[in-house]
């Protein structure tokens, strides 16, 4: 069997495991969809000022005024990519490191690359599904437009998916054990989601600058662009994708250097 065939079988096995593990599936899909339903309902019919602020007279200054859900649907789709690629993958890899599953695989001829291809491919499939589901729910319930630029949207989702998977692999190196994994994952993503303006647009120079250090902010920006919530030429913004790519390279370097296949012995 070729390495490609083995990798595809790994993807299939990972997908099976993901959907059969209700908790993982719920964690990956539940949060973005749930918040879409809550905030989408609350702010339905209102508008937001993407990348700018409303002036005292209610004018959107320095940005583009769009219906709230035109902004919120791509933001929640981006969060879905984060939960499936970053949160789920990180927690599942640390669990498997703790319970010896990674060690077992190291004792078989399965190449490490094929194993990684399996978890990555599976996470990407889940990510595409969560983005599609978010878009459908947003369109049907909240009249959000379909993604204005489907190809840039798909490329952004896949690129960000890979980048956040790799960052997830890198971060396992600093997670001591499976008990700590959900805390580390949430602590490293939720605050950044808020300061990156995933839920509300805001104008705070300090938080805004901090957010721009992290890839989450740039991913949201590229999703807003691809979905048409931000004006662009053709749905691409090279700068966003470049920052994501740089973070991906950093993550890869850390993973290659520090990734552990076995839990630390006491």
């Amino acid at each position: 069997m070729s390495d490609l065939a083995v990798s595809l079988r790994q993807v299939r096995a990972e997908q099976r495991g993901f959907w059969r593990n209700r908790v993982a599936a719920l964690f990956g899909f539940g949060f973005p969809i749930m918040f879409l339903l809550i905030f989408g309902t609350i702010f339905k019919g209102q508008s937001t000022c993407v990348d700018g602020t409303f002036s005292a007279r209610g004018q959107c200054v320095g940005g583009a005024e769009v219906p709230y859900n035109n902004f919120f649907v791509p933001a929640m789709a981006a969060w879905g990519v984060l939960t499936t690629c970053f949160s789920n993958l990180t927690i599942s890899v640390v669990n498997r490191r703790d319970n010896g599953l990674l060690k077992r695989l190291r004792g078989t001829p399965l190449p490490s690359a094929a194993f990684v291809a399996g978890i990555l491919g599976s996470a990407l499939i889940s990510a595409v599904i969560v983005v599609a589901l978010t878009a459908v729910v947003g369109h049907l319930l909240y009249q959000a437009p379909w993604p204005a630029h489907p190809l840039p949207a798909l490329v952004t989702v896949l690129l960000a998916g890979v980048v956040f998977c790799v960052i997830g692999l890198a971060i396992t190196a600093v997670i001591p054990n499976a008990d700590a994994a959900p805390a580390v994952v949430n602590f490293t993503s939720l605050p950044i989601l808020f300061i990156s303006g995933f839920f509300f647009n805001f104008n705070n120079a300090v938080f805004g600058d901090i957010a721009k250090v992290f890839p989450i902010y740039w991913f949201k920006e590229s999703m807003l662009t691809a979905f048409g919530a931000k004006p662009s030429s053709g749905g691409w913004n090279g700068e966003d994708l470049l920052v994501l790519l740089i973070w991906g390279v950093l993550g890869l370097a850390v993973t290659l250097r520090f990734f552990r296949w076995e839990s630390r012995r006491v």
Binding site: M1, A5, V6, R9, Q10, A13, R16, G17, R20, N21, R96, N99, G100, L101, K103, R104, R106, G107, T108, P109, L110, P111, E262, R265
Partner: protein, 302 residues
């Protein structure tokens, strides 16, 4: 692999490994012949698992020579792992896949695997093949471990405490599987806590204690090291028992055990005494020392 070699399947010479200040393995040497079932025995912390994991390629040695199937496992890579099967201690299997799915997935990792159904049947999991791994009992998961070790049709099997958690009949079944593997000419290195397992399965055993080899030999040669006979019976109430041999720690409460080099004389004295006192010696037993007795003496584990 077609080519028959006369060289040993495993060669270990002066192997050493420390974790910080803990000297886990201190100059261990042994070799395992092709087709041999070789037992590594020793108490917890004796260094068994460290030795096995060095042979499996998981850990790097500090010094010494190690050769497994003609190569160094530390650098053997994929080619090496295609030729060996491992049952590790406490290693999970994907919980949400079924037995059949997992065995089939692993089957794809090897160039010349056995058939999925055959292996599932071999380990006695055919009735569980559609069940998710999560739902298996401890013993059933261990049998799945064995199936995953066998699916690649390995030349060499590492079995690190393969029957821990098995009920007696599952253990007998596992033994049958190991015997079957032996008949097929596989080399097997197994570690175990169970002396009856070593006695029943292995051609030779190596007893390690505190990181050093204390004895290598066939189980029967080890047993023969102690020529004494053990006499054991229920301690009678309210009478002092004559000492017809050296009193040793017995198995259960209420039993008294003695060992002697002159069993005929000792038994004669004992029974004469009992008859004279009108006593029946309950559960009287005369036996040769078991491998366990020898093992306990060698490892000082009492």
């Amino acid at each position: 692999m077609g080519v028959t070699t006369q060289t040993a399947a495993i060669v270990v010479e002066e192997l050493r490994k420390s974790y910080g200040s803990l000297h886990a393995v201190r100059g261990v040497s042994f070799s395992v012949e092709p087709g041999e079932v070789f037992g590594l025995l020793g108490p917890n912390g004796a260094g068994k698992t460290t030795i096995v994991e060095i042979l499996e390629g998981y850990r790097h040695r500090d010094s010494g020579r190690v050769e497994v199937l003609g190569g160094d496992p530390a650098t053997g890579g994929r080619g090496f792992r295609r030729r060996v099967g491992m049952v590790l201690q406490e290693c999970a299997v994907e919980p949400y896949l079924t037995v059949r799915e997992v065995v089939d997935l692993h089957r794809g990792y090897y160039p010349k695997p056995l058939a999925t159904d055959d292996v599932i049947e071999l380990v006695g999991l055919e009735e569980k093949s559609g069940v998710r791994v999560k739902k298996l009992s401890g013993g059933q998961q261990r049998r799945l471990d064995l199936a995953l070790a066998l699916i690649g049709d390995p030349e060499l099997l590492f079995l690190d405490e393969p029957t821990t958690g098995f009920d007696p009949s599952a253990r007998r079944n596992a033994w049958e599987i190991v015997r079957g593997m032996r008949k097929l000419g596989k080399t097997i290195l197994l570690t175990t806590h169970y002396m009856d397992e070593a006695q029943n399965l292995t051609d030779r055993v190596c007893v390690v204690s505190a990181g050093e080899v204390v004895r290598i030999g066939t189980p029967s040669s080890l047993r023969a090291e102690r020529a004494e006979t053990r006499i054991q019976f229920v301690r009678p109430d309210a009478v002092a028992v004559p000492k017809v041999g050296e009193v040793v720690p017995g198995g259960e409460d209420g039993l008294i055990a003695m060992i002697t080099d002159t069993p005929t004389k000792a038994l004669h004295e004992l029974t004469e005494w009992a008859v004279a006192h009108g006593l029946e010696l309950q559960r009287l037993e005369v036996s040769q020392p078991s491998l366990e007795d020898v093992y306990l003496e060698l490892t000082g584990d009492e």
